[in-house]
């Protein structure tokens, strides 16, 4: 005790607690928690009070009630007597459909345009850069409206349908195509396809191992193509062609039978593809430009030809730069597909946060579920891409 008294007063005096970063941090964070909880509590209280005074019951019971409205496109069985819960899944599947279609098409177009911008052909690189500059600077909503109201509405009526290829009809009601009818034994063709894919997977592992050990190369590309295309074709022929096509037929004022792409889907798909591809093209271009010129020169000095330089040296390095921004473009595309509501394509926002919300008035539950879907999709896609990204990055030594 006496030794304490000998210390200088400034050292013996405990540091004031607001000068101690650790304690100050605890104070700040407790204040923040109290403030956030208080804010949330106020909102919840207000909301409950407001809901009570408006006579709205909360809860998810409404999901099992009968919906009573029709939806123009559904991937699962749906009728007016289905429940509100089912409208959620119809909308979700339609969102996923247009997102997947859009991602595939936008990736293809984006890569073509991105590579075209780097072409040594002056005209082609200028056209590609004009494409990028025009379409990424015009809001997506305007592009959707343009395709839907200005282009697709100008198509002829069903009776004067365009028929560019036999049995494919284009008119103001949509694009009509023959529908495949799967006969007995078609399952075997599908099975053969999957067996071929699995076989290719194992053969490629074996050939890579053999090349690592002996240096002998195996014609993997041709084997894979032969197996994946050839095996299902062979089974198809053996089973006696179990696939027929049902063509759409004009009956009265409209086509019956066949598959239909409704104009809402077509407009949304085209607009999403063109808009997102402009951004992807920029990502691809900067990714390829990020691979230093020395890499290309070193590869040519080793005697690799132009195709191999691209395939073995440039692309693997560019992909690593391209993937993170590409992921966020895919996420943007999924989120942008919610603009469907502006032209009435029955996606999640249009069906569930639109019609269902208006009919039931359950704003909080509906918006909560809708936002949760997009959040989950975002997290899933970014988790997948992170996994892919680490896999690619591991190649580095």
């Amino acid at each position: 005790m006496s030794s304490d008294a000998n210390k200088s007063p400034s050292a013996s005096q405990k540091t004031r607690f607001w000068h101690d970063p650790a304690k100050r941090a605890i104070l700040f964070q407790s204040l923040l928690v109290i403030a956030v909880l208080g804010f949330v509590g106020m909102i919840v209280q207000n909301t409950l009070h407001n809901l009570e005074s408006r006579g709205i019951t909360t809860g998810f019971a409404f999901l099992s009630q009968e919906a009573g409205f029709g939806i123009i496109q559904s991937l699962i069985d749906y009728s007016e007597s289905s429940s509100y819960g089912r409208t959620f899944f119809v909308g979700l599947l339609n969102t996923l459909l247009v997102s997947v279609l859009g991602i595939i098409a936008a990736t293809l177009l984006g890569f073509i345009m991105g590579i075209a911008r780097l072409s040594n052909n002056w005209l082609i690189s200028k056209v590609a850069s004009a494409y990028v500059e025009i379409f990424r600077n015009i809001p997506l909503l305007i592009q959707i409206f343009f395709w839907y109201f200005a282009v697709l509405r100008a198509l002829p009526s069903p009776r004067q349908s365009l028929e560019p290829i036999e049995n494919i009809f284009i008119n103001v009601r949509g694009l009509y195509m023959p529908e495949p009818i799967y006969g007995d034994g078609f399952g075997w063709v599908v099975a053969a396809f999957f067996i071929a894919v699995v076989a290719v997977f194992f053969i490629s592992r074996w050939s890579k191992k053999r090349q690592d050990e002996t240096g002998q190369r195996f014609p993997m590309l041709w084997t894979a193509a032969g197996l994946i295309i050839g095996l299902p074709l062979l089974v198809y022929w053996v089973m006696g062609s179990p696939l027929t096509w049902e063509a759409p037929v004009l009956k009265g004022f409209n086509f019956r039978g066949g598959m239909t792409i409704i104009p809402e889907l077509a407009a949304l798909w085209v607009a999403l593809t063109i808009y997102t591809a402009a951004f992807i093209a920029e990502i691809v271009r900067s990714g390829i430009e990020a691979v230093s010129h020395g890499q290309t020169e070193a590869a040519s000095a080793l005697g690799l030809n132009r195709g191999k330089v691209l395939r073995l040296v440039v692309v693997p390095q560019a992909v690593r730069v391209i993937i993170p921004p590409l992921t966020s473009q895919y996420l943007n595309l999924i989120k942008n597909s919610s603009l469907a509501t502006a032209i009435g394509y029955p996606d999640l926002v249009s069906v569930f946060a639109g019609t269902t919300l208006n009919q039931t008035g359950q704003a909080i539950e509906v918006i909560f579920m809708t936002m949760l879907v997009y959040l989950t999709l975002s997290l899933l896609v970014s988790a997948f891409m992170n996994w892919f990204n680490t896999r690619m990055a591991l190649v580095e030594r």
Partner: protein, 371 residues
């Protein structure tokens, strides 16, 4: 002795390069027809361009009608810009009373002067002008646009519309989101775990949902969150939604700027004995903000394009007002002209801003690395 053995002590002049490797022909051989495949591609592209461009240009410019009072003026079969010409004022000002439109002009005129002052490199007193733009100007703009004092007539927000509303939404969104974005970014880089996790959750939540659902939420749910029967403005609700959404994106831009500041700057500031806020306010943020400007311009472009979504919750931005015009029975069937006009308006703004942001990136790139 033959001529071939002639000895000269001066250099012979260089021969000119072969005629087919210079001038227009040489350029074309190199850039358009360097190989058979390239030649085919060039011809194919030219053909496609011919198919697309010739009809479009003759429709939009050569065969178009420009001036008139009604649709009867459109006789030449091309584009009918008369539609735009007649409604141009409405597309710009919305339903703002005609007598009061000078207020919008003045507001945006002042903004243009301030922004140009900030953009031109050699003008003095940038700091003062930025404070004017970010703090004083919004107050003046509010009183000018909404009115209600200084003898100005009140103009309710449901009369606002057109291009001016689009600009107001985008500018308010970006200016109001900036301080929130800075706070969120600082929070995300903070060492306090609870502060950090709150900020991460906030940012990732808003970045994960589409703007439409945010606007739906703002227009449907916000009234439920507030006490009593506060009936508040549709425009204000949309703005709150946009600011909450945008501040998450802004936070990521600010975070990028903060990460670009070398650790030595933080350490030097701490060694001088500056506390956290002084370190951030005097040393880190001034340097980081400069680096952030291109990113801020890019988010502004994205927000500017996204403002067109407010038509879904019933506000009359330029796209909504053109669409309303298209359903006017006197002007049915001019949707291509209408959408082309809106697209052109947006394109001019966005393209200009993206060029400016690229220019800034080049100017701020003061390092030695290859560009």
């Amino acid at each position: 002795m033959s001529d071939s053995a002639k000895v000269t002590d001066t250099l012979l002049p260089d021969l000119p390069p072969p005629a087919n490797s210079t001038g227009v022909i040489g350029w074309m051989r190199m850039h358009l027809f360097s190989s058979p495949v390239n030649a085919l591609l060039t011809l194919f592209t030219l053909y496609i361009l011919y198919i697309l461009l010739v009809p479009s240009i003759s429709w939009a410019l050569i065969n178009a009608d420009w001036v008139g009072d009604n649709r009867d003026a459109c006789t030449s079969g091309g584009a009918c810009w008369v539609f735009i010409y007649n409604r141009f004022d409405q597309f710009m000002y919305g339903f703002y009373p005609e007598m009061e439109r000078w207020r919008i002009d003045l507001t945006f005129g002042m903004l243009a002067v301030l922004v140009i002052w900030l953009m031109v490199p050699n003008l003095p007193k940038k700091g003062l002008v930025s404070v004017l733009t970010l703090v004083v100007y919004p107050i003046i703009a509010y009183f000018l646009l909404y009115g209600g004092s200084f003898g100005l007539e009140v103009v309710e927000t449901h009369k606002w519309g057109g291009m001016s509303l689009t600009l107001i939404l985008a500018i308010v969104g970006i200016v109001a989101a900036l301080p929130f974005g800075v706070l969120l970014a600082l929070g995300r880089r903070s060492e306090m775990p609870i502060v950090k996790s709150f900020c991460v959750v906030y940012i990732e939540f808003w970045r994960g949902v589409p703007l439409i659902t945010v606007l739906f939420m703002a227009s449907v749910m916000l009234p439920l969150f507030l006490p009593g029967e506060v009936d508040f403005d549709k425009l204000l609700r949309a703005m709150i939604g946009i600011v909450m959404f945008q501040s998450a994106y802004m936070a990521e831009v600010v975070r990028g700027g903060l990460q670009a500041i070398p650790k030595g700057q933080y350490e030097a500031a701490q060694a001088l004995g500056l506390n956290y806020w002084k370190m951030m306010g005097l040393i880190v943020l001034p340097q980081a903000l400069k680096l952030m400007i291109p990113g801020i311009v890019n988010t502004f472009i994205a927000l500017f394009k996204d403002t067109s979504l407010v038509l879904i919750i019933g506000l009359f931005d330029i796209l909504a007002i053109v669409q309303a015009g298209l359903s006017d029975p006197n002007w049915l069937g001019f949707s291509v002209e209408g959408y082309t006009f809106v697209a052109l308006m947006f394109w001019v703004f966005c393209y200009g801003m993206s060029k400016y942001s690229q220019h800034l990136e080049k100017r701020f790139h003061t390092g030695h690395g290859a560009r």
